[in-house]
């Protein structure tokens, strides 16, 4: 449950709440721009400055230090003294030199963004956030875009705000310079807090014709969580029309970040809570329509890349190590936006290689084997951690719901049969035998074996061809083979190794503590197969955990005038007239709709 004020909670208790709001922020940028190795540096930087963080995907909060400038040393507590011992808070870029009385700098201060590679995608401009903590900004600055030494595009901006959106079509460039010419106040340093490589569009409820979002989380990680948002934006100005050259359509691409937030007007001000972080997956602007439709979903929806680097670990490896490997492979996740329970994940070991599967599926298997839930919080961070104990439940009674709670029963689960995997070794087996055509120089091959294996050896039957050991990697089911040769040749490659034949032991569990109690009915055991379960302790823990969840057979759903602060895995206390005992519902899925009021259909497991 999102943290909200007393006023918010009091508002939720009303039959008719105050005015509600939805806002969607859409970052029009290239989501892969980070792979081009952007780096920032600046002229004349003060010792507090950290210009290298200016284009981070993280939002750093500016520490409002009282640096040596007129009117910054007020005794109202709004400024912080710079610590003498270092360990400074984030300041972004602060210039060493001060402007003159009119705000003019002797020579323009230059902040440079350089890329390792040429940026060939098309960007609609830059968003520059200046000295937000001081409400200061340049009244004149220039943006120059270069391809090597050649000037590509540029814009001089006469500015009047702490956030500047510079609309400038940029493509085929590797350097951007921001020249700060004149500051809004005399005798001040220039301050820059953040640079976003693109522009951010904010759509309010006045711009939207429809808005809905949905969340589904599996409390036993038997499936991946799914978070989706869908909205329609007024497109009467044809801004999203693909045929409009001046529109945004040419800049739109998958995985562009979309953030939502929800609010209520309370005491004359709008109190906001985050709604979630999503990534654009689908959009359309019908030629005959007046609106453009957008759909976006969570990051796991884009982690479809196959992970094939699983290795057999006879001595065992912790799930914490495995999850880090997978997340590192998914290098679209920047700046560690995840929360892992190191103690729990580090306490479970497996000998099995991760199966050849999508990165998202690998994360789900790891979470399941560690008895953890996999979900996102509303700041977009991925969590893999044990289920939290129920906090304060939101109470929903007949006054707050549009329909009575519908109760249904799932099939009874009397027993869980957990598969526990082990591997029999058969050394000296052939895993691959094929002819490869090589060109002069290094040749890279991805080869899939016929079986899962360890201790793999490559034999190349051509004298002039050599294996490059530093670049060749062997995994349980694949290898990346790099061969070097002086001239074009066709060679025979034979790969042999110790084949790992999987065996399965079934462990039956019919108690939450992971044991098997004799004498209980066991007509249709539920089968639980997870390749990462390779020891009895893990099998009993997972079996008991899943059994404990599935024995709650009652499912409930209802529609209510939603508090948008409610999240999946929160508990709702459903109070029904005529019933003495309320129902505690663990919410596992929700569909939120904003039509002026927040209305939501929630479903979940009855815990009481």
């Amino acid at each position: 449950m999102q943290t909200t004020s007393k006023e918010w909670k009091a508002n939720q208790a009303l039959q008719l709440t105050s005015e509600g709001f939805v806002e969607v922020s859409y970052k029009v940028s290239d989501p892969d721009i980070w792979e081009k190795g952007p780096a920032v540096d600046a002229d004349e930087k003060l010792y507090l400055s950290e210009p290298e963080k200016l284009i981070s995907e993280n939002d750093y909060e500016i520490t409002p230090y009282a640096t040596c400038e007129p009117d910054l040393w007020r005794l109202d507590g709004s400024r912080i003294t710079v610590p003498g011992s270092g360990g400074y808070g984030y300041s972004g870029y602060i210039s060493r030199s001060l402007c003159d009385d009119t705000g003019q700098f002797d020579t323009p201060l230059v902040v440079v963004i350089e890329f390792d590679e040429m940026v060939t995608s098309m960007l609609p401009g830059l968003t520059v956030t200046w000295g937000t903590a001081y409400n200061e900004y340049p009244v004149e600055f220039r943006v120059k875009v270069f391809d090597g030494g050649s000037y590509v595009a540029g814009e001089t901006v006469i500015n009047n705000g702490v956030v500047s959106i510079v609309e400038l079509e940029m493509t085929n460039f590797d350097r951007i310079e921001i020249e700060i010419v004149r500051w809004c106040r005399g005798r001040r340093r220039a301050r820059l807090g953040k640079i976003f490589m693109g522009i951010e569009k904010v759509y309010t409820k006045s711009d939207m014709l429809k808005f809905s979002s949905s969340e589904t989380v599996d409390p036993v990680s038997a499936a991946l969580p799914k978070y989706e948002v869908s909205f329609e934006i007024d497109n009467r100005d044809d801004i999203f029309n693909p045929l409009n050259d001046a529109g945004l359509s040419k800049y739109m691409m998958e995985r562009q970040e979309i953030r939502t937030r929800y609010g209520y007007k309370l005491n004359g001000l709008v109190e906001w809570i985050p709604g979630g972080v999503y990534y654009l997956s689908d959009w359309s602007a019908p030629q005959n329509g007046l609106s453009a439709l957008f759909k976006a979903r969570d990051l796991l929806g884009f982690l479809n890349k196959t992970y094939y680097k699983g290795t057999y670990e006879p001595g065992g490896v912790t799930l914490y190590t495995l999850v880090q490997k997978v997340l590192r492979e998914a290098n679209s996740l920047k700046d560690d936006p995840w929360v892992l329970d190191e103690e729990v994940l580090g306490g479970v070991t497996t000998t099995a290689p991760l199966p050849v599967s999508s990165l998202a599926k690998c994360l789900q298997l790891i979470a399941n084997a560690a008895c953890c839930v996999i979900f996102f919080d509303r700041s977009g961070r991925l969590h893999i951690e044990p289920p939290a104990s129920a906090g304060d439940a939101v109470q929903v009674d007949d006054d707050k719901s549009y329909s009575k709670a519908e109760i249904s029963l799932t099939d009874p689960v009397m027993q869980i049969d957990v598969s526990m995997y082990s591997y029999a070794e058969e050394p000296g087996k052939e895993l691959y035998n094929g002819n490869l055509t090589l060109h002069p120089g290094e040749n890279v091959f991805e080869i899939e074996y016929s079986d899962t294996a360890r201790d793999v050896i490559v034999q190349v039957n051509a004298g002039s061809v050599s294996v490059v050991p530093a670049k060749t990697n062997f995994y349980a089911k694949f290898c990346t083979l790099v061969l070097d040769c002086p001239s074009s040749v066709t060679c025979n490659v034979i790969i042999t190794g110790t084949v790992l034949k999987p065996g399965e032991t079934i462990l039956s569990v019919n108690s939450p503590d992971g044991t098997f109690q004799t004498g209980r009915q066991n007509d249709e055991p539920q089968v639980l197969k997870n390749n990462l379960i390779t020891n009895e302790a893990c099998a009993r823990a997972v079996g008991g955990w899943v059994y404990g969840n599935l024995r709650n057979r009652k499912r409930a759903s209802l529609s209510w005038r939603a508090d948008p602060g409610l999240e999946t895995l929160d508990t709702v206390k459903i109070v029904r007239s005529g019933e003495e005992e309320p129902i505690d519902l663990l919410v596992t899925s929700s569909e939120l709709e904003f039509t002026g009021a927040f209305k939501e259909k929630i479903e979940g497991t009855v815990m009481s």
Partner: protein, 131 residues
Amino acid sequence: MSINEALVTIIPGEDGAAGYPLPEPTAYSGAASTMVDAGISVSGKLLGSMVRSDVAQISLSWNYLSADDWSAINRIFKDRYINTVRFFDQTKGGWDEREMYISDRAAGLWRRDSEGEVVGWTGCSLQLTEV
């Protein structure tokens, strides 16, 4: 009492264009609506949220307008369904400017002169509602 400002002025969007003060109406009424998105709860109570408050609507009527005056009013709205309107707002207790759309304009013919020209209209009425 001196009246130096029209009760209702239609302000066109073009920069620099003068407003069109409407003739003093015979009757002027205002309404302020609160828009809600609400349904009925299981217990039969109103359940929902306020969507927007203080949505203004004004109604004007004239017992009699000459054919030229009524024609001039109608021509303002001929191609402009939504206009900025300066009017006396009952909630504010003063003049305010808001974007408003125009209702149907209705009037009854008074009479024609001996040459067959329409002299004027009776019961002319229109409504302006905030968008």
